[in-house]
């Protein structure tokens, strides 16, 4: 029994660890968007409410890909990003990005809006969207 429990625990840890470390995140825009490449600092501007030129599309709050994305582009954890957004939201300066539950939904939303910018798992990329940045 204990062995099964520890095996389950081990595989759960492994499962949790794999997508966080092995997955590559790519930043995507619509095919109609003229942008071809972007630096991570630039990408972070849209997701931190500092620029309205593109419309950010976010992954689910608390998801591993979201935490990893903000860590990679802005070196911020979820709480820091939330604090930053609460400053913008409660002063009426900006509204937080719309959230979608997974990479497939994010991709669909980005493909449908020429101004949208999103980030998804590299494996979810197809020819409906354009990759402008790969986060190692």
């Amino acid at each position: 029994m204990k062995k099964i429990a520890s095996a389950l625990l081990l595989s759960a840890i492994a499962a949790a660890a794999v997508p966080a470390s092995a997955a590559e995140i790519v930043v995507i825009v619509s095919k109609q968007n003229p942008a071809t490449r972007m630096f991570s600092e630039q990408a972070s501007q849209f997701f931190l409410g500092k620029s309205n030129l593109f419309t950010p599309v976010d992954q689910a709050d608390g998801s591993a890909i979201r935490n990893e994305f903000y860590h990679k582009v802005a070196d911020k954890d979820a709480a820091q990003v939330k604090a930053l957004w609460s400053k913008l939201v409660f002063t009426g300066k900006a509204t937080p990005p719309k959230e979608y539950p997974n990479s497939a939904e994010v991709k669909k939303a980005v493909a449908a809006d020429p101004k949208a910018i999103g980030y998804i798992d590299k494996s979810a990329v197809d020819d409906t969207v354009k990759v402008i940045l790969t986060l190692p």
Partner: protein
Amino acid sequence: MKKHLLAAAVLAATAALSAQAGVLDDGNLSISGFGTVGVAQSNTDDVKFARYNQADGVGNSARIGLDTNLGLQATYKINDWLSGTAQVLTRKATEHSFTTDLTWAFLKARINDEVSVRVGRVVVPTFLISDYQNVGYANTMMRPPIEMYGQAPIENSDGADINYQHAFGDLNFTAQAFAGVSRGKLFVSTGAGSTATYRAPARGISLAGEYGPFLLRVAHARADMEINDIQPINALTNTLTSVGFGQLASDITFSTGKKIAFTSIGGTMDWNNVVGQAEYAQRRAKDKVYLPDTNAWYAMLGYRFGKVLPYYAHASAKGAGSSITAPAALAKIPALNAGVANLLTSAEQTTDIVGVRWDFAKQLALKVQVDRVKPGAKSGLLINVPAAGYTKDVTVVAAVVDFVF
């Protein structure tokens, strides 16, 4: 009046929309909120420590009123370029109980990607954190240093503002200009305490540059304050007039409208886990009025250890003279002369603050803060002070949980 109606209309529209939210559910309505639940206590009952414009302070027994608040906000996106937002805030302010105010209520038109215009009620960005000082979760410190934030009485204004945002390479530049009429209540701590009502046409501009983790901001605002019912001032000016100092009385009073200017420079940083925030500001009377000129500053430095962020801050408020010089003849009435001299003198105070913020759970932050308040001239910014004044240090300990949803 028109602006009141407008604000009410925006609120009503937003409320009506939120009532239908379940039915509509088209993703255009967002309801969010913030709040703080806290308890605070000081080491003495001889004086009370309060936030700016609070009627009830804390003494030597635990009280929740100092820092506890709740803000609720609804935004409805009418279309791609137009939206309406209303926010109400419940807290203890100029009354001895919790009250709810409409703090924001505006229609926002996005002109293009860089310019937006808001019409209605907006909070005035006099100082660095003026427009989010009540959102504990968005701030590192538990409360805005009263030495700085106690300088500006105006909170929001009914009118319009324009926001401009542009990136020059890696430098993000933002500008905000506003004009409108501010109305509100002021708590007058003299004696048993009373409230006064002000009306102030106000306008101002703030410019900010953000370069990576560094933000620098300068701002200037002017208000034409008109207050008719500050009881202790009216009592004094009536007496002065009756003994032949009518000019001095009309110089002192706010009842004819007096211009006050606020100028500030401040910045924040969040660089390699080093978190900083500092600001310097001046309040200057541009007409003759009793309200003393002041200079204030504070500086905060913290270091982020993962979810835990300890910080230290120092704040200072000092007098910078008065726009009025009492006539020499007033010296013949020593009591009155002393009263006027005292009125024209600014309260002075410094505070040392140590605290820690712990982001212990999603959308929740716990803060513990100790303020060591050193009152100077006129018992500093403490309230309910004894007639003889108070110069001893006061220690205030507080713990709060800030949340957003």
